[in-house]
Symmetry: C2
Subunit: 288 residues, 2 copies
């Protein structure tokens, strides 16, 4: 069992830190805003209000915050107090190029870094059933194997520094496309006068079937736009997809359509809604 710090107790981080503590690790947590630590503390974690204190007492520090700049900010506060050889595992979805740069910078200071973005949603985090895409060295990945099983059903080294973020980007591209396929099909069915429940049911068992049909289909039928995965988060991730696509020379015509449709909702103040609300953009188009 390891002494593990966990920074960022959001909808994902809070249950992840709880699973780490329940697995028997000695867990110390920190969050920028207060009042987020209740679950982790219940599971046996200790809370500190000082990042340096957290860094000084841990050999592994997990971060699950927002954007590249948030990760950098947190690391800048952790590093002065961190012990040589500390392994930093970043579960945030950030820039792949940024993750590779952070890896180099930390290596120069004698620290280890893995970019390890997660997928599986809030439900996966609560169940400890996340999937983790890991970029970094094989040695650091070996060390992380003591930690990751606490909250993930699957974790794989997918390449060197930044590769975890590239795999996450590939995932978000496919997630966005599957969402569009679902919403465009159901909006067409709605306008055609077909029964939406029958349409979802018939189509989901054949060549049109997808996780999106199974999981977002019912939300669309119920007009339930609570997240789920929010439009703001999807658009944040798409930004990193574009950045990587430019670096590697990839073309993302489908994702760009999804992005434009979701931006319409965001500009209407609906960034906190589930991405499945994309259905409404298509169902209401041309109705005026």
């Amino acid at each position: 069992m390891a002494r593990v710090g966990f920074v960022g107790l959001g909808v994902m981080g809070s249950p992840m830190a709880g699973h780490l503590a329940k697995a028997g690790h000695s867990v110390t947590v920190w969050n920028r805003s207060t009042g987020k630590s209740a679950h982790a503390v219940e599971c046996g974690a200790s809370e500190v209000r000082d990042l340096a204190e957290l860094a000084a007492g841990c050999e592994v520090v997990c971060t699950c915050v927002g954007r590249t700049e948030d990760v950098r900010q947190v690391l800048a506060m952790l590093m002065p107090a961190a012990k040589p050889g500390t392994l930093f595992i970043d579960h945030s979805t950030i820039s792949s190029t940024g993750a590779a740069q952070i890896h180099s910078e930390l290596a120069a200071e004698g620290f280890s870094f893995l970019d390890a973005p997660i997928t599986g949603g809030s439900m996966g985090a609560q169940k400890g059933q996340l999937t983790v895409f890991v970029g970094g060295t094989a040695d650091d990945f070996e060390r992380a194997k003591a930690i990751l099983p606490a909250y993930s059903k699957r974790y794989e080294l997918v390449g060197g520094p930044g590769a975890g973020q590239l795999m996450k980007a590939a995932n978000q591209i496919a997630v966005g496309g599957a969402l569009l396929a679902l919403c465009e099909s159901l909006a067409f069915a709605h306008k055609s006068g077909l029964d939406l429940a029958q349409t979802r049911d018939l189509l989901s068992t054949g060549a049109a079937g997808s996780w999106a049909f199974e999981n977002y289909g019912p939300k669309i039928l119920a007009q339930d736009w609570s997240p789920g995965f929010s439009i703001d988060n999807q658009l944040k991730d798409f930004g990193y997809c574009h950045e990587s696509a430019e670096v590697v020379g990839a073309w993302l015509p489908g994702m760009t359509v999804v992005e434009e449709l979701l931006q319409r909702l965001q500009s209407q103040g609906r960034g906190g809604d589930t991405t499945a609300a994309l259905y409404e953009v298509l169902a209401q188009a041309g109705a005026d």
Copy 2:
């Protein structure tokens, strides 16, 4: 058991007619070109070379041909010899508006018509496990229940005349979108230097997962562009999707992207390839 005619012994019709004969129906088959009847005849069907002869001897006639005009042409040759009350079940994917018009014209002559496009692919046809979307009257659908189970695992009345084609269009819109999501994600992964087999494997079990990931993913990994479902057929179906979308006022931005990408392959003489070859358009883009 019924006396059933089957017109159109292509990759779908041939096994369907075979299943009808094996189920104990008295089956008569016809195909425009010769040499397609071997399988149906082996299963117990009789072949005729005259559509009038087929029509005269059957109370139900199934058609599985190409486009709206092909269905009209075949029906024009069948109707003069058909018995009053004959039920025509068209399994072709054609225009929804055209199907509704055919329904009216046949009703005026004392015949019954169901638009009953199918999904499940050549494998589904061979296994007798198709899904059938039926448009028409409830009474005619009741009559069709004596026939459809021979080659389908699922058949549902989805609305009045033309509604079966609308459901098929909704299906093709979703199938096209799921294909794009898969190909765009894998092409990005390829350009990013990720392992394609690992990418498909990791992504297919999460929120990006789909029938396309499961079934087309391995074809892309193997660079196997044999159909499957051909680009020519997908583009034919998209044409009917656009026609219906215009009628009902639906917007198909994702399908339009898929269509443009597949048209590039068709214009290179690759219309007979599987739709999964869409991957190549994206994987090769910007490489020069």
